[in-house]
């Protein structure tokens, strides 16, 4: 009874609100100039590059950061014993360096002020070390000269594990022609043991064929000598990089350098095994046409004139929505059932490879030159979730994680892009 009364009241209110809305309809819309002003103001607020001293992220919204004096007493929370960190972490500000406080040097504005994001500041001003702080065993360290300018092949040779494969699409490109980086074809994935960490390095250059594949698009046969710069290995570079890693990288302490393997290498060579297994596609035109949209012309190009070309569109059922909902699942399950035995072991959790703390640091030695800043570290006061750890790395002021795209795309004359499997 009580409930009905409540409901009745609510419905009445609704009815009257609808009635009033109806009476004043159509309502006047706000001044569009004001809307534009709002938009303009908001976009201007985010047009900054600000680094947080504590967690090292690169932010853009000026409201999310505050200035902190370098003399601030609460900064002491971020102090780290210099004997725990393998490299020097001074930032050039005396007031901070004397107290062994670890901050991101890019966040220093001048000798008196640094920028800190609100979240970190509210945490460490209360006396607790933020989980995200660089000082919370998240330091990564500078990349030494020995590890800089390595080609992707050299990097792959010295990595202890390979967690992704690469596909290179190479093609002869004429000027002004739009090109697409996509590729279509059949791929056979052979299960690999990505958990295994290699203890004897470098790996043989022949094994690069397991982790990379080259596809050539074009009618002409590829000119191997032109492709060579992408696939060159410099023996000296590999040796110095490996030696450096063995001395300084946490995960490389047990690694043996394979002198016998190295002695077989000439001083500079092209990974022949990779180039001799090049897959070929005669023409990419059909595939490119699929991706051509309504306006493929670059509007900045002066020669462009006339109508924008139209293409016909059609509906393609990419997600199998026309099929019954569970059909695909059932068919997949059916194909599994015949040759697969599933053992259920009750009790303990299954060990996953991402629970290995060296999983990322040993796969990307050039990104984590000292092996520090792992996603799992028992010494951390407050642990970090994997997703958060990755987010922080991506937003890091030096943009560590994304730099490996550079080398591949920088090449002039030949277009290529990696697809990471």
């Amino acid at each position: 009874m009580l409930l009905t009364n409540f409901r009745l009241e609510e419905l009445n209110r609704h009815y009257y609100s609808i009635k009033t809305t109806q009476a004043v309809w159509p309502q006047l819309l706000p001044d569009p100039k004001q809307l534009y002003a709002n938009f303009y103001e908001m976009m201007h607020k985010v047009s900054y590059n600000i680094v947080c001293a504590c967690c090292g992220i690169l932010g853009h919204n000026i409201d999310e950061f505050i200035m902190v004096s370098t003399e601030d007493q609460s900064l002491t929370t971020l102090a780290v014993g210099p004997d725990v960190v393998p490299f020097s972490f001074s930032c050039g500000v005396a007031a901070i360096d004397q107290r062994y406080i670890m901050i991101d040097p890019l966040a220093v504005r001048d000798q008196d002020t640094i920028t800190v994001c609100n979240k970190c500041y509210s945490c460490f001003s209360g006396g607790t070390l933020p989980a995200e702080a660089l000082a919370n065993f998240r330091w990564i360290g500078p990349v030494p000269a020995e590890l800089q300018d390595l080609t992707w092949a050299e990097e792959a040779l010295i990595a202890r594990s390979h967690v992704f494969g690469r596909i290179f699409r190479l093609e002869q490109r004429r000027n002004g022609e739009p090109t697409y980086s996509s590729l279509k074809g059949h791929i056979v994935l052979v299960p690999q043991n990505t958990i295994r960490l290699l203890d004897i390095l470098p790996v043989s250059p022949d094994s690069l064929t397991d982790i990379a594949h080259v596809v050539w698009v074009g009618k002409m046969k590829p000119d191997i000598s032109k492709l060579a710069p992408q696939f060159t290995v410099r023996k000296n570079k590999v040796i110095t990089a490996l030696r450096w890693l063995c001395q300084h990288h946490e995960d490389y302490w047990n690694v043996t350098i394979d002198i016998a393997e190295l002695s077989k290498w000439p001083s500079v060579f092209v990974t022949e095994a990779l180039l001799s297994s090049v897959g070929r596609v005669q023409s990419g035109a059909v595939e490119d046409a699929m991706r051509d949209g309504f306006a493929t012309e670059e509007i900045d190009v002066d020669e462009f004139s006339g109508d924008i070309p139209n293409t016909t569109s059609a509906i393609i059922d990419v997600n199998n929505v026309s099929q019954p909902q569970h059909l695909m699942t059932l068919e997949q399950l059916q194909s599994l059932h015949g040759n697969l035995t599933i053992n259920v072991v009750p009790g303990s959790d299954i060990l996953q490879h991402y629970k290995d703390s060296a999983y990322f640091t040993s796969a990307f030695p050039t990104l984590f030159p000292w092996g520090t800043g792992k996603h799992i570290d028992n010494r951390r006061q407050r642990s970090l979730k994997l997703g958060r750890w990755i987010e922080l790395l991506l937003k890091n002021s030096s943009r560590y994680v994304v730099t490996f795209f550079e080398k591949i795309i920088d090449d002039i004359g030949v277009s290529s892009l990696t697809a990471i499997l």
């Binding site: 609704h14 819309l29 709002n38 976009m43 985010v46 853009h60 059932h337 299954i350 499997l421």
Partner: protein, 204 residues
């Protein structure tokens, strides 16, 4: 980046599986699943093909479990169908959307994206001629995250500064999904609902 996405997905799925198997009802489910054979699955697949209802209780249980696990994983079909249901519900609750928007910010032509990618730009005094197309694209390719951040801030500004301030009347609700072009740049499709006198009528 992709590696980490993979790892996170696997983590999501595994956690779900572990939780399921720890539940009390699992014993019964286990017996059901063990009784399944390939023929059962084949029969169910045939039923599904003809849009009949699946009758086998073991199969239904199995599908339910798979759905629950996949629903938690980002990007899966299950997740997409879940989103579709969410959108349908908003249609029922708020009435017909006032506009269906597609926003595709021109990252290649934006000084802001260049700024995020690390170019030294004076935002108030920008000279476009200093950056050629090739330079811009190359710079953005080197720093894909800057494109995503630019997209995020742009959409945020449009939603907060324009839509919520009542461009089409008082905003009731919006629902959008992000998709990626062939060159992996994001765009958003969004249905915008606003309060009108006939909305919520169905609800009443």
């Amino acid at each position: 980046m992709i590696v980490s996405f993979d790892v996170i997905r696997r983590e999501q799925a595994m956690t779900k599986v572990t939780i399921r198997t720890k539940q009390r009802a699992w014993k019964r489910t286990q017996r059901l699943l063990e009784s399944l054979t390939a023929e059962d699955l084949g029969r169910a697949a045939k039923q599904e093909q003809k849009y009949f209802k699946i009758t086998d209780p073991a199969i239904l249980e199995l599908l339910k479990l798979i759905g629950q696990i996949r629903g938690a994983t980002s990007g899966s079909d299950e997740r997409k169908s879940y989103m579709l249901t969410e959108l349908k519900s908003s249609f029922i609750y708020h009435g017909c959307p006032v506009i269906y928007l597609t926003i595709n910010p021109g990252d290649r032509h934006s000084p802001l994206a260049l700024l995020y990618a690390g170019a030294k730009i004076d935002v108030n005094n920008f000279i476009p001629e200093e950056y050629s197309v090739i330079d811009r694209v190359r710079m953005l390719l080197r720093n894909p995250l800057s494109v995503v951040e630019y997209f995020h801030h742009m959409i945020q500004a449009i939603i907060e500064g324009v839509l919520k301030q009542g461009m089409f009347g008082e905003l009731a609700h919006y629902y959008g999904t992000i998709e990626y072009q062939g060159r992996f740049t994001p765009h958003i499709h969004m249905a915008v609902f606003h309060f009108s006198y006939h909305s919520k009528l169905i609800y009443l």
